[in-house]
Amino acid sequence: MIEHNNISNREIVLELKNLHKHFGKNNVLNGFNMQLFKGENLVIMGKSGSGKSVMIKCLVGLLEADSGTITVMHNDITKLDQEALDILRADIGFLFQGSALYDSMTVRENLEFPLRRHTKKFGEHIDTETLVVEALENVGLASAIDLMPSELSGGMKRRVALARTLILQPKIILYDEPTSGLDPITAKEIIILMQDIQKKYGTSSLIITHDVDCARAISDRMILLIDGIDYAVGTYAELSVSKDPKIKAFFKH
């Protein structure tokens, strides 16, 4: 709990309050609350279909929440117009579950793409080449710059997607299942890469996963998303010894 007090003194960069979202008769989020502090790695765990991806998509405005507030760096995104939202999005990186690389573009073009709308952030005389090479060097794939996504392995695609996320130098990175579909060794490499990036750039990270190993390795704090609410909040050490059967189910191997 001492650790919690230390964290709660820090600046909140992202906050969800009483978030509701339903699809037809299915209530996916039933009043979900969450706070992400500056420089923190917060892991959100939940079963498949529990609403983790819906929550993260509401966060960046890809889905519209039914009710509740979403505050990102002191901006209520539900009240922003499209232009203001796009400017704010430059500070939020999003790593998609399936990498989501543009398959008709080379790796270089994939990385250049986000820069075209955010010249204000870097100035008009933006050195695209340097930014692309630097982002690829961060993920150890500078040699893949002219390859097409179809020529990359699953792990390489995830690294390139991470480089594309990093190129706008975001303050917050949202990871949607960063290790899903990868073999254990590649998954471990991705986790180490995420830790290195956090150390190097001091970003705040929100990681959606159901991979317990990933959660243990990277989380400062965890939230268990059960029945559409923030059912339990705590560190990995605290939650993994809980007697609550719903919480225990997550940590069974």
Binding site: L62, D103, H118
Partner: protein, 260 residues
């Protein structure tokens, strides 16, 4: 009761789709005139669509010209009216057969391609990734593609018409020993602006329909990879039906102008 219920459900679903398609078209016109303009992507799409469909349009046009002349020749000979062949073939190709056949070929080639491409981008979250990066995916993907087909289709129709008339000339040259100069002077004597202009305007609407339906089906594709196949397939079916409806309206309107 169940049959009636099924008809009601299908009708409701069809009308809902028409409504959504109308909203999508409205959004296209609003976004098309707003900055920023994606000129580079538009040129790339024009090149891709024009270049990739050209060979298919040329082959189809050539065969249509050959077949039309071969099939019509015996009947015209029976009435001693074979000298009317250049006029008849050119008018029927320019007014009707050329635009509709080229549009149907492009609906299969371009419409299904757009449906599958955007559908695949939707299910692999590439469209979401685009939006998160601050780029308006509707403007970048939809507006450029619809505009490209709308601009390219009339050009493809003109090329297809020319090749079809050339195919017809080859048959006449081989079978009736008609010279190039004689054949084409009769073609240009027969054709008027009143034949070419309505057909060209109609082709723009055909292009718009192919682009809008292909993009609509792909952009709102659902249900994973199965949905991609359905998006491509329904884009072709729906567009083909729409092309005939547009053709009917265009002919009807043109006919009113001819009567004036």
């Amino acid at each position: 009761m169940s049959a009636l219920h099924s008809i009601k459900t299908q009708l409701k679903s069809f009308l809902t789709e028409i409504g959504e398609l109308s909203l999508f078209t409205g959004r296209y016109f609003r976004e098309a005139f707003k900055r920023p303009f994606e000129f580079k992507e538009l040129l790339r799409q024009c090149y891709n669509m024009g270049n990739r469909s050209l060979l298919l349009v040329v082959i189809t046009g050539f065969i249509i010209g050959l077949v039309l002349t071969l099939q019509t020749r015996p009947t015209l000979m029976e009435f001693g009216a074979v000298s009317w062949m250049p006029s008849m073939v050119s008018i029927s190709i320019v007014r009707e057969i050329g635009p509709i056949i080229t549009a149907l070929v492009c609906a299969g080639r371009i419409g299904s391609g757009i449906g599958a491409e955007l559908g695949s981008m939707r299910v692999t979250e590439q469209i979401d990734a685009m939006e998160v990066s601050g780029t308006n995916p509707f403007k970048y993907l939809v507006v450029t593609r619809v505009l490209a087909v709308t601009l390219m289709l009339p050009l493809l129709v003109i090329i297809g018409d020319a090749i079809a008339i050339f195919g017809s000339f080859l048959v006449e040259n081989i079978k009736g020993n008609v010279s190039f100069m004689l054949y084409f002077s009769q073609v240009f004597d027969a054709l008027e602006f009143g034949d070419v202009i309505p057909a060209t305007i109609k082709s723009f609407f055909f292009g718009l329909a192919i682009g809008i339906v292909g993009c609509f089906k792909g952009f709102y594709c659902e249900k994973g990879t199965e949905g991609v196949g359905k998006a491509a397939n329904s884009a072709v079916v729906f567009t083909s039906l729409l092309l005939f409806i547009i053709d009917f309206i265009a002919v009807f309107v043109t006919d009113i102008f001819y009567d004036l």
